[in-house]
C-alpha cells in the first residue's frame, strides 16, 4: 500500500522524505563518498568494482553509472548527494539543472537570468498535463 502524500501533486519534484531516504541509502552513500579525493581516484580507476562496494539495486547502479540524474532522484537519490557524483564528472549545480530539466545549460541559464521559472503554471501536476 502506498500512502498518499500532500506533496505528491507538485510537478517535476521528488520530495526526499523518509521513504525515499530509506530506498536511496546506498545510492546516496556511494555518491557522497566521491566528496573525497582518494575515493574519486578509486572510482576513476575501476568504476564497477568501486560502485559494487555499495549494495544498491541494479536499477540504481545503472542510473548512477549512466548519469541518469532524474532517474536517480526517483529511485531515492537526493540532489545534494547526486550533485557530488555530478561534481566528479565536472558538472556544477547549474549545469546539472540544465540536464535535469532537459533544457540544456544555455537556455537554462538564460531562464534564470530572466528571473527563473515562474511559479504560475508550476504549482500542480494538473497544470502540466496539457504541456
Amino acid at each position: 500500500m502506498t500512502e498518499s502524500k500532500p506533496y505528491d501533486d507538485i510537478p517535476g519534484t521528488v520530495v526526499f522524505d523518509s521513504d525515499q531516504a530509506a530506498r536511496g541509502y546506498h545510492l546516496n552513500q556511494f555518491c557522497i563518498s566521491l566528496r573525497l579525493q582518494p575515493n574519486r581516484d578509486a572510482f576513476k580507476a575501476d568504476p564497477e568494482t568501486y560502485i559494487d562496494q555499495y549494495p544498491m539495486s541494479a536499477e540504481q547502479r545503472e542510473a548512477a553509472l549512466n548519469q541518469q540524474w532524474n532517474r536517480m532522484l526517483e529511485l531515492g537519490g537526493n540532489i545534494y548527494y547526486t550533485a557530488k557524483l555530478a561534481a566528479y564528472h565536472g558538472i556544477n549545480f547549474q549545469e546539472l539543472a540544465g540536464l535535469m530539466t532537459g533544457m540544456g545549460s544555455t537556455s537554462y541559464r538564460k531562464m534564470m537570468v530572466d528571473g527563473g521559472r515562474s511559479i504560475d503554471g508550476n504549482r500542480y501536476k494538473s497544470e502540466w498535463q496539457d504541456k
Binding site: 519534484t13 561534481a87 539543472a97 530539466t101 534564470m112 527563473g116
Partner: protein
C-alpha cells in the same frame, strides 16, 4: 552579560563562494549581488560582534546519510572548511567559542530542546558563504562562530514555529551567559529555489517578498507557514528558509530593518539578505 544585538539573514549559494574565491565579484552576473552586500560589510565593520551564532544547514558534507540530527550545535574549538567535491574553499579556519557553546548546549537541553552536540565538525558552504558575503576575504575571520546545523535535506525539516521557539531558547541561553559579549545571530539559506528534477529553476519573488515582510514584522504569523507551502511556492530546496526563523526567534519581538537586498539569480537561486537590529 552576553546579549543579542543584531540579526542577519543571508542566502548561502555555493556559486557565490566560488565567485569570491576566483576573484569574480565584479562582472555583470555577480557584480550586482556583491554590491548588495557593500552596505553590509560596512555595517558589520561598525557593529563588530564579539561572537556570531550562525544557523545553517550542512549539505551532506559533515553529515552523510548515516546520521541526520535535526539540530546539531557546534561545541568545538575550531571548524575546518570541508571538501565538497571540488577541494576545500580557500577561506580561513572558523574559530569556535567553546565556553559559550557549552553554555548554550546545556541551557537548551534544560529548556527542553534536545540538541545534538558536535565536538568535531567540518563546515561547508552553508556556513562559509555568509561569512564571505559579510566579511569579504580577510586572513582570519574577525570573530569566533558558534554554528548550529539544521536538517533541511531529508523531509521533514523542523517546522518554522519550532525553529522560532528554538531561537527564543537560544536567546535565553545567550542572555544568561556571564561574559560581556555582543552576539550577532545569522540565519542562512534560501530564498526560493529548486535544484532538482524537472521543476528546477523555480523562483517565486512575490512569495519571497511576503516571507521577508512576515519574518520582520509578523513573525508569530510567519513562523506558521507550513511545509507544503514552502515546497510548492518556494521550491523543494526553499524549505531552507525555516532557518531564518531560528535567527528571528533570538531577536526582540520588535526589530528595526536596517538593510534589505534581493536579487535573481545566483546560479539556481534567489538571493535574499536582511540586517535587523534589536530595538
Amino acid at each position: 552579560m552576553a546579549y543579542v544585538s543584531s540579526g542577519v539573514a543571508c542566502s548561502h549559494v555555493p556559486a557565490l563562494g566560488v565567485a569570491s574565491d576566483s576573484g569574480n565579484t565584479t562582472d555583470d552576473y555577480y557584480g550586482p549581488i556583491f554590491q548588495g552586500f557593500d552596505f553590509s560589510k560596512e555595517w558589520i565593520a561598525k557593529e563588530k560582534p564579539d561572537v556570531i551564532f550562525l544557523v545553517y544547514n550542512d549539505h551532506c558534507t559533515a553529515f552523510d546519510a548515516r546520521v541526520i540530527p535535526t539540530f546539531a550545535l557546534g561545541c568545538a574549538a575550531e571548524y575546518q572548511p570541508a571538501d565538497e567535491g571540488w577541494g576545500p574553499r580557500p577561506v580561513p579556519v572558523v574559530k569556535g567559542h567553546q565556553r559559550l557553546s557549552a553554555h548554550i548546549a546545556q541551557s537548551l537541553v534544560l529548556d527542553e530542546f534536545d540538541i545534538t552536540i558536535m565536538n568535531e565538525m567540518e563546515v561547508d558552504h552553508g556556513l562559509t558563504v555568509p561569512l564571505t558575503m559579510m566579511f569579504g576575504q580577510p586572513d582570519a575571520w574577525p570573530c569566533p562562530v558558534v554554528p548550529l546545523a539544521v536538517n533541511v535535506v531529508q523531509y521533514p525539516a523542523p517546522l518554522g514555529r519550532r525553529c522560532y521557539a528554538l531561537g527564543q531558547s537560544i536567546r535565553k541561553a545567550i542572555d544568561s551567559f556571564p561574559d560581556d559579549l555582543k552576539v550577532c545571530v545569522f540565519g542562512t539559506g534560501g530564498m526560493s529555489h529548486q535544484l532538482q528534477h524537472q521543476r528546477a529553476g523555480l523562483i517565486n519573488s512575490e512569495w519571497d517578498d511576503r516571507f521577508m515582510n512576515l519574518l520582520v514584522n509578523e513573525p508569530d504569523k510567519g513562523c506558521n507557514i507550513d511545509h507544503i507551502e514552502y515546497l510548492r511556492e518556494a521550491g523543494s530546496e526553499g524549505i531552507e528558509l525555516v532557518m531564518w526563523y531560528v535567527m528571528r526567534g533570538a531577536m526582540n519581538k520588535k526589530v528595526e530593518e536596517i538593510h534589505r537586498f534581493y536579487h535573481v539569480p545566483a546560479s539556481n537561486t534567489a538571493v535574499g539578505h536582511l540586517i535587523l537590529e534589536n530595538r
